[in-house]
């Protein structure tokens, strides 16, 4: 009989949201027994790749109301305004907490924290650590977490299923990668902080680990996924690799030009181009609109054809070498290394790239899901403060604010609800082990993980891209259903238990197929255009029918799609106005 692994609070994911949840719970309840389960060592989490910064009002010329307005107009009015208000109110203290924990924020000459402009903002309010903000934030949080002896870590354990008994979530089943053992880890409450699902698309800024695990875990436990049709394309990714070139490049003054060297954004209501830089205009417009403008330019034949699709140029040469080295050194390093050009002397080729999931596990502002004992935070969750298009630099702050909130709320729940029913939980764990060995590791099959993954990604790109319509979405849904069928004939080369990364890839694909299905069907059902969801067959925003959150529930076949009202408090829906 192996020991039962028992904790009060269990956090799945060791990125910014998960680590902040753990530290918040540990600070509040020093005797709480906390564990973090992460499929990678926490410092490998995808938070590490965030570059430009984290939004929070700190300067005297800024105000909470302006951050709220920017977030809501950025969201195309699909964000819950009560949630946005508390997010904006709490973000500065969270960023200050990171400062007190040692985050090397870039500074003004007087030693105060510096801020930079970002897209869609009326004021400069993005805190930054040069252009490796996510990296510094993650390492600061991780290193700080090491001093809490109450936080136990399960590094390189992969959670494959939530265990739900007596109507509440009481832990997970997870594979310890180094041994291949499948174990129950029980807890009074579970927080999903597993990040996004960018890897359901072929061309993404997201690292290999962003496979929607937490979204699928919740979805399978009957929890709805909210607003999954809203997928953010970042306007400036490197062709081929999809590596992110941060919005900070434009915040610092970079411009976007087409094949004629023309700043094309002025043709789409974002101008006039001068004076530059100017807030909430031109290259500092919101991400959804900038990515859509790229497609319009491509349709007009004014982009440049490259080996990895059409591109435009991001030009930062006028900033000069000194400023480039000081403010965006990583941009220079990435461009030199991966496209072989030095931005000091040449413009950077870029194209829109899948970057962020606005949607995720349906939660309230405490991070609580409809399933008692289950919480979610960060990109895995949808509160929602991001609505139909996230404001740049809100995601790191969101991880902190809602990570901390979920940590505190889940800790309180766990203290009142210790894991019980251990025999029943163990039985579920054995069921899960059987599922993995009989379906994923089955003795015969013909389909490779990579083949099916590519088919899913191509289906998503062709039907669920920047512009969509009913026919293309229906085709994507059909292709995903066929891929799901083929998944039942999977074959793995790797039959070992120890460190079986092919098994992990197969289970990740299993999760991604769920997340992809939720995106495609939610997009099919929303017959309007809003933010990042643009339907060429329904080009207008339709507040009468769709000022609502989508809730997708898993069924045996196509998901059941339902709707939930958006919380509107002080900011009635209006047109989004940029430029001018």
């Amino acid at each position: 009989m192996v020991d039962v692994l028992r904790h009060d609070l269990l956090i799945i994911g060791g990125g910014a949201a998960g680590l902040r949840a753990a530290t918040a719970a540990a600070q509040l309840h020093p005797r709480l027994n906390i564990a973090i389960v992460s499929k990678v060592y926490p410092m490998r989490s995808h938070t590490v790749s965030a570059e430009g910064g984290a939004g929070g009002v700190i300067k005297s010329n800024d105000s909470l109301d302006e951050h709220i307005q920017d977030t809501i107009s950025g969201s195309d009015w699909l964000a819950d305004q009560d949630a946005v208000e508390l997010f904006v109110r709490e973000a500065p203290a969270e960023l200050l907490q990171l400062e007190h924990w040692g985050c090397p924020w870039s500074r003004e000459p007087d030693g105060s924290v510096a801020v930079r402009p970002f897209g869609g903002m009326q004021k400069e309010r993005t805190w930054f650590a040069a252009d490796k903000t996510g990296f510094h934030l993650l390492h600061t949080l991780f290193q700080t977490s090491l001093q809490f002896s109450s936080i136990r870590r399960y590094d390189e354990w992969f959670a494959t299923r939530l265990v739900v008994e007596n109507g509440r979530c009481q832990g997970v089943v997870a594979i310890e990668l180094r041994t291949g053992q499948i174990r129950l880890i029980s807890a009074g409450a579970v927080i999903l902080a597993t990040g996004g699902a960018g890897r359901i698309f072929p061309f993404t800024t997201n690292g290999a680990i962003c496979t929607g695990d937490g979204m699928a875990l919740a979805y399978r436990a009957g929890v709805p996924l909210k607003d999954m049709e809203f997928v953010q394309y970042h306007p400036t990714g490197l062709p081929g690799t999809g590596i992110l070139i941060t919005e900070a490049a434009r915040g610092e003054g970079g411009i976007l030009v087409n094949k004629d060297g023309y700043r094309y954004l002025q043709d789409y209501g974002l101008g006039p181009p001068d004076p530059w830089p100017r807030l909430r205009a031109m290259e500092l417009g919101p991400r959804d609109k900038l990515s859509q403008c790229f497609v319009y330019e491509m349709q007009k034949g004014r982009t440049i054809q490259g080996p990895y699709g059409d591109i435009v140029y991001l030009d930062v040469r006028h900033l000069g070498e000194k400023k480039i080295n000081e403010k965006i050194p990583f941009v220079r390093e990435l461009a030199r290394k991966y496209v072989g050009i030095d931005p000091v002397h040449e413009p950077i080729p870029v194209r829109p790239v899948v970057h962020y999931m606005m949607g995720g596990v349906h939660t309230d502002a405490q991070g609580a899901t409809p399933l008692p004992g289950l919480y979610a935070a960060g990109e895995a969750a949808c509160v929602s403060i991001n609505g139909a298009n996230r404001l740049g630099s809100n995601s790191l702050s969101e991880c902190l604010v809602f990570g901390a909130r979920a940590g505190r709320a889940a800790a309180a729940f766990a203290r009142e609800h210790p894991a019980a029913d251990l025999a029943a939980l163990e039985a579920q764990s054995r069921d899960e082990e059987r599922r993995i060995t009989t379906t994923v590791l089955r003795a015969e099959g013909t389909e490779r993980v990579s083949t099916l993954r590519q088919e899913m990604q191509l289906a998503m790109e062709s039907g669920c891209g920047i512009f969509r319509d009913e026919a293309s979405l229906q085709e994507t849904c059909n292709r995903l259903a066929r891929a799901r069928g083929r998944f039942m004939r999977l074959w793995l080369d790797d039959r070992s238990r120890v460190y079986n990364t092919e098994l992990v890839a197969a289970l990740e694909l299993d999760f991604m197929l769920d997340a992809a299905e939720a995106v495609a069907y939610s997009a099919l059902a929303r017959t309007e255009s809003r933010g990042s969801h643009q339907r060429t067959d329904h080009p207008q925003r339709d507040d009468a029918r769709f000022l609502k959150h989508t809730l997708a529930y898993r069924t045996g076949g196509a998901p059941r799609v339902d709707y939930l009202d958006v919380a509107i408090t002080r900011w009635p829906p209006a047109q989004r106005v940029y430029g001018g």
């Binding site: 790749s49 007190h100 924020w105 590094d155 993980v449």
Partner: protein, 254 residues
């Protein structure tokens, strides 16, 4: 069309270290001949093998942009991040890929990190203060010059290339090692931190900084320009000065 076909026919040979502890008692090398692409990094080649040739090949990776620190391996005997090591720098010669040196191998190209994870905690890499100011008091002031004093040591991505390059760590596994010492020094030099003496007690031992003979390989291989050798040298100087102060002016060390 002709030109494209010629390009598609070019191949490159990878000799890859394989070790499956359940099946084999000794590691072997497996040779793969795969398509050569001008813009591929070594990691792309490994992903090609895993996706199309042999799904059992085991290694770690995620961000593929040099910042998550997962994909360090020995490439022709040199520790490298495989996501930023290009095939074109080796072509047409074969490339030998091995797990990072000086670490136990979990399987194939994946090493065991337990030792570093323990050492990281050991050097207390967090802000230590006698008195924590309330958040309402705002940020601790830190000028750009104060930031510059420690900034480069804060760039460590924990990729373990420096440990793989360090001849001392290879001989004396107790050695705290370059990355952990650089991180300790990162906090020692941070104007917000007051834990220097606490950390110096840990570092000023043989297993700490004094084992290092300043070979400097750590700094040579570092992909993040951290300069761990510089950190160790600084810590040695601080430790020696601390010793002198204690011996010569014991009352001055309160």
């Amino acid at each position: 069309m002709m030109a494209e076909q010629t390009v598609a026919e070019r191949t490159i040979t990878l000799e890859v270290f394989r070790y499956r502890p359940e099946q084999e008692s000794e590691p072997t090398f497996q040779t793969y001949e795969i398509p050569y692409r001008e813009d591929w990094v070594v990691l792309d080649a490994l992903n090609y093998i895993k996706d199309s040739v042999d799904g059992s090949l085991t290694y770690r990776w995620s961000c593929r942009m040099g910042v998550c620190g997962s994909c360090g391996m020995m490439v022709n005997g040199v520790p490298k991040l495989t996501c930023s090591t290009f095939l074109k720098d080796y072509y047409p010669h074969p490339i030998r890929i091995e797990p990072l040196a000086n670490f136990p191998v979990a399987r194939d190209l994946a090493i065991v990190l337990d030792d570093f994870m323990a050492k990281l905690v050991h050097v207390r890499p967090w802000i230590i203060r006698r008195q924590e100011e309330p958040l309402e008091a705002g940020e601790y002031r830190q000028t750009p010059e104060e930031l510059d004093r420690y900034k480069h040591f804060s760039m460590c991505i924990n990729c373990m290339l420096c440990y793989a390059a360090c001849p001392i760590y290879g001989l004396e596994p107790e050695f705290v090692g370059p990355a952990a010492i650089a991180l300790a020094q990162r906090y020692n030099l941070d104007s917000r931190d007051q834990g220097g003496r606490e950390r110096m007690g840990i570092l000023s031992t043989h297993e700490g900084i004094w084992a290092c003979t300043l070979v400097g390989e750590c700094t040579t291989v570092c992909p993040a320009e951290v300069d761990p050798a510089g950190a160790i040298q600084q810590a040695k100087l601080a430790s020696a000065l601390g010793w002198l102060r204690r011996v010569l002016v014991p009352w001055g060390n309160k």
